[in-house]
Each structure stands twice: as structure tokens, then as C-alpha cells.
Symmetry: C2
Subunit: 327 residues, 2 copies
């Protein structure tokens, strides 16, 4: 498949460059965790997006390699710190940094990845628009922190609405994708209207991606998903599905189940099938599928402002890939 | 006194600008801790240094105000995270951020201060040397992280030498002062030789400052010091004094006391007078005073490469102020 070949070629370039970018050895408790998290694989969605965006506005995708890797390093910094805050034990089938080392090492290696990201960004050969690039990076990190703070605050609040939720995931998930495409466009010194189009594309893709993620927890095939479904329900996460269910449920039993979800004890594994049944009966699943489709439509619409070329066509494929994923 | 007036004028400019720079309100668990730590006062050593350095190379000190505040914000980010790692309860006579809020808020607000610092830096009006400025900021943060990682590693190691210690404090303390002066010099677009001189000055001042800090724990007047002396000894901190004592002690009782210090239990408050007596008898105090003087001499020597002007003279006064302090 043409798109997959293209994607894997860019991803391979990221892996090769990334594996050489941080040669420092000491202090070990700082650099070993950094190399560990950066070598953990993942789809490298953000740097590939940076390179595709660069090509879509007429640039050479490889010129945006360092800018893309800088975004990837920032993304991994947020993973290391989020895993401390969420007390997560595993990530990408390996122990999280704070589990393998300790909280202090995880705090410090996360901290160090931020200036490392900016340092990698400065390796970009064409830096005519450096102030805008740095500014985009600053805003990206600030908004991710805001998104994570909202996420933590929402865990203790009972009256979160779907709009609150959209603000939170836009900051926590979509803004890093926005940074990825803006960085690629700035490396190619794109005109403002193309940057705006790419921003809209990335926000739509990122928001749709997160909602799709929420959906998979309820409807995925467990084998392909690689874990039990209903994890979010047991964890008490206020996902798009739960917040929609709150709006749609009218039957006393459904309202009681949602109240139990919001109670301090929360739901048990045995409650999962009833909640998923509720999602289906009340139209939550259908509404969520619709919502994802709406964002995908927005993403494609945004692309129409860009000139036709290989980069643009890959961005369109990329949006499809994200919603068709099963894990 | 002329110097104090000058210092306080610059410090006042920092306070006024800093109090308006972060108007964001929400999410509260993110921005309240940031405003709290930034409003905690302190001597504002770093931004004042940035402005003095700018003036010393012929610039207008106020042009370096934002660059200086950016360094101050970075410094405060390191304080917030260091206090988590050190489990510190108090800072500047107030509860630390992670005590007043919680670890998650402290991690996240510290994280957010880094891009905020870079954002404030970009407010500088003359940005001809932006790549160098950003690069200096990156290196500054990376080295502070390395210094803190060494500090944490050294706590568990028994064979730390004075040279290891110098590397650690150069990274942990001196490099932020180096960043402060380099930032001021770059804003004024100083020639390379002046930047080099300022770097040497700042490294010497910063290292001397830290060793003086170690010394105060043993010889300060408790009333002026504001806390009991010997705190580092009870905490088991491997200060310049302890590491020197290891080299100098020969009497069996002295060696036994140092061994007790290195034991897992460490020393008790009752042991403090004996250790301070050891420091005096074995020449540790004298050697430490000498070391501080040596660094101050280096700092003054470095300044001789700069043209004579008010900024340079203030930098000389500043070095004196740091070693004459009693708290």
C-alpha cells in the first residue's frame, strides 16, 4: 500500500536519527531513562505528521525531520510525567520510567527532555521563522500542561460537561498534533493560510482520535485491542461515552448505574457489560461514531485549502488510518 | 550605598514586570502554584545579574529585563521540582508547592514554567541573536538537571571526591548564573570575548557562592542565619566541608566521627559541636575560606577583560555581596 510505504519510510528516518541524537551517558539516572522512553517505539505519529505537513506546503519532508523529532521528544516527556501523576505501571508493554527507576529519576529525566527537544529543533537547517517555531513549541507545551491539569481536576468534579471535556482533550491531545503540523509548515516557510488550514486539520484529527480512543474501550475486539475492554469504565474515567450517557439516560436503572459510576467506589468489572449495553441502547455508541465522523469530515475539509500534492494526499490517508485503527 | 540603590532599582523592575507576566487563571491547580512560587520574593539574583551583564557590555539593562525574568522563572521551576525530590516542607518561610497543593500540581506547574520562561524570553525587543539565546537557555536547563541528578546520585555513594563535588555544584548552581550573564550579554549583542569573560565570572561567583553556603552552615551567627547551624551535618549532606575533612582528618576520633557521619544512621544534633570543632582543628574552615576567596579572585580577574563602566563595577560589588552575606 502506497500510504503505508510512505509512512514507514518517514518513520524509519525518525528511528534512525532519534537513536543517535542523545549520546550523553552520565549522569546515568538522568540519561538512561531518557534513552529508555525514546527507544520504546510507538507509531511516531507526531514526527511523521510534521514531515507530511512540510511536504503538503511544498517543502522537503526530510528538512522537517529534526522539528518532528523535537515534537516527539516533547510528547515523550509528557508521557513520563503523566505516568507518575496517573500512577501507571506499564506503557507500551514495558514498565513505566518511574516504576523501573523511581519518581525522582522520572521527574528529572522528563524535565531534561524539554530543553533537549528545543536543542534538537535548533538543528533544523532553515530557521528563518525561528521566533514563530519557538513560540509554537512554547504554546504547545503550555497547553498540554493545561490539558493535563484539567484532566486531574475533572477527576474530582461531578458536573463535567461534554464541552469541558472537548476543551480538555483539545489541549491534552490535539494541541501536540497541531504543534507537529505547524512546525512542519514553518520549516517550509508556508504562508499563513496554509498554516491555518493545517492547524484546523490537526485539531480535528486529534480530537477525533481521542474520542475514537474512548470508543474503542467499549466496542473494540479484545484480541486486536490487546487488553480487556471496559478499562475506562472500571477506572471511573469521564470519557466522551460516559458524559454522553449522562445526557441521554432516562430509565431509572440506567440513571442508577451512572450514579454508581460517579460514586466513590465506582463500578466493578461485573458492571461493565451493563454499562456497554446502556451505551448501545441509549444511542451513545451511535452518537460517538457520528462525532468521530464529524471531526474526520472537518479534517478533510481543512485540507481542501491546501494545494494538491503527495503530502496532502498522505495527510488525508493519515486521518483515515487513525479512525480505522482497532488498538 | 550606591550599589544597593542600583541593585534595588533593578530588583524593583523585576518585581513589577513579573507580577503582571502571567495573568492566566485557569486551570487553577496549574496557575495558582506558579503565581505562588514566583511571588515568593527572594533576592532576584539572576535577573539582576542579567541586567548588570547587559550594561557591562554596553547595553541598556532594561532591554535585558525579560531575558532576566525568563532565567528567574527557570530557576523557580527548578526549586519547585527540587523541593519534591528533596521532600522539603518549607521554602522562603512558606510551605513548598507540593506541600501546599500536592505532588501532581507541583510536577505540572514546574513543567509549565519552562515554556513560560521561553515565552517571556521572546518578549525581548532585540532578538538578533535568538538562536544563541535559545541555545544558552537549553544548555542551562540541561546542566541544572544533570547537576540535580548528580546530587541525588551522590547521596547514595560513599566515595565522592572534592572534584566530583565541584562538577556537581558547577552544574547545579553556577550554570544558572552563567545563563543569566550570557543572556544579558547576548541581548546587548556582545562580542565573543566579553561573553567568555562574563561566563568565567559567573561560574566563579556561582561556585564560590555555593561553597560559602556550605561554610555558613558551620560558622554562621545563628541569629542572622535564621536557623540552627549544623543542619547540613545532621542531614548527612556531603558538603565541601565534609569532603575536605575526609582528606584532612588523621586522628582516630576524627576518623570515627566521619565514619559515623557516613553510616546509615548519620549524626545526631549532639554530634554537631564535635564536627564543627573538627572542621576548625583540621584546617577545614580555613581551607574553605581560602577556596571562596580564590573563586572571588577568579571572578574579579575575569571582569578585567571588560571595559570599565558602571555595569562592570556593579558586577564586582555583586560578587562581594554574595560572599559577605550571612544568610
Amino acid at each position: 500500500m502506497e500510504f503505508l510505504n510512505y509512512y514507514n519510510r518517514l518513520r524509519q528516518a525518525v528511528e534512525e536519527e532519534l537513536s543517535q541524537l542523545i549520546p550523553e551517558e552520565r549522569p546515568r539516572t538522568l540519561y538512561e531513562p531518557i534513552r529508555y522512553i525514546l527507544s520504546g517505539g510507538g507509531k511516531r505519529v507526531r514526527p511523521v505528521l510534521t514531515m507530511m505537513a512540510c511536504e503538503a506546503v511544498g517543502g522537503n519532508p526530510l528538512h522537517a525531520l529534526h522539528a518532528g523529532i523535537a515534537v516527539e521528544v516533547l510528547h515523550n516527556f509528557t508521557l513520563v510525567h503523566d505516568d507518575i501523576m496517573d500512577s501507571a505501571n506499564m506503557r507500551r508493554n514495558r514498565p513505566t520510567v518511574h516504576k523501573k527507576w523511581n519518581d525522582n529519576s522520572a521527574i528529572l529525566s522528563g524535565d531534561c527532555m524539554m530543553p533537549l527537544a528545543y536543542r534538537i529543533l535548533l538543528k533544523t537547517s532553515s530557521l528563518q521563522r525561528l521566533p514563530e517555531l519557538i513560540s509554537a513549541f512554547n504554546t504547545g507545551v503550555i497547553e498540554v500542561c493545561e490539558g493535563q491539569a484539567y484532566d486531574l481536576e475533572f477527576a474530582h468534579e461531578l458536573d463535567i460537561t461534554l464541552d469541558d471535556y472537548r476543551v480538555m482533550i483539545e489541549k491534552k491531545t490535539a494541541k501536540m498534533l497541531e504543534l507537529a503540523v505547524v512546525a512542519g509548515a514553518l520549516v517550509a516557510s508556508a504562508p499563513e493560510e496554509h498554516i491555518t488550514a493545517l492547524r484546523q486539520y490537526a485539531i480535528a484529527v486529534g480530537t477525533g482520535f481521542q474520542i475514537q480512543d474512548d470508543l474503542l474501550d467499549a466496542i473494540a475486539n479484545e484480541e486486536e485491542f490487546g487488553k480487556r475492554i471496559g478499562g475506562d469504565i472500571i477506572e471511573g474515567k469521564k470519557t466522551f461515552l460516559i458524559l454522553s450517557a449522562q445526557q441521554k439516560a432516562v430509565l431509572p436503572d440506567d440513571i442508577a448505574l451512572l450514579e454508581k459510576f460517579y460514586n466513590e467506589q465506582g463500578l466493578l468489572p461485573d458492571d461493565v457489560p451493563a454499562m456497554i449495553d446502556l451505551f448501545h441502547r441509549t444511542g451513545v455508541i451511535e452518537a460517538t461514531l457520528c462525532e468521530v465522523q464529524r471531526y474526520m469530515h472537518e479534517a478533510h475539509q481543512a485540507l481542501s485549502a491546501l494545494p494538491d500534492n503527495a503530502g496532502k494526499s498522505m495527510l488525508a490517508h493519515f486521518a483515515e488510518m487513525l479512525v480505522q485503527r482497532t488498538s
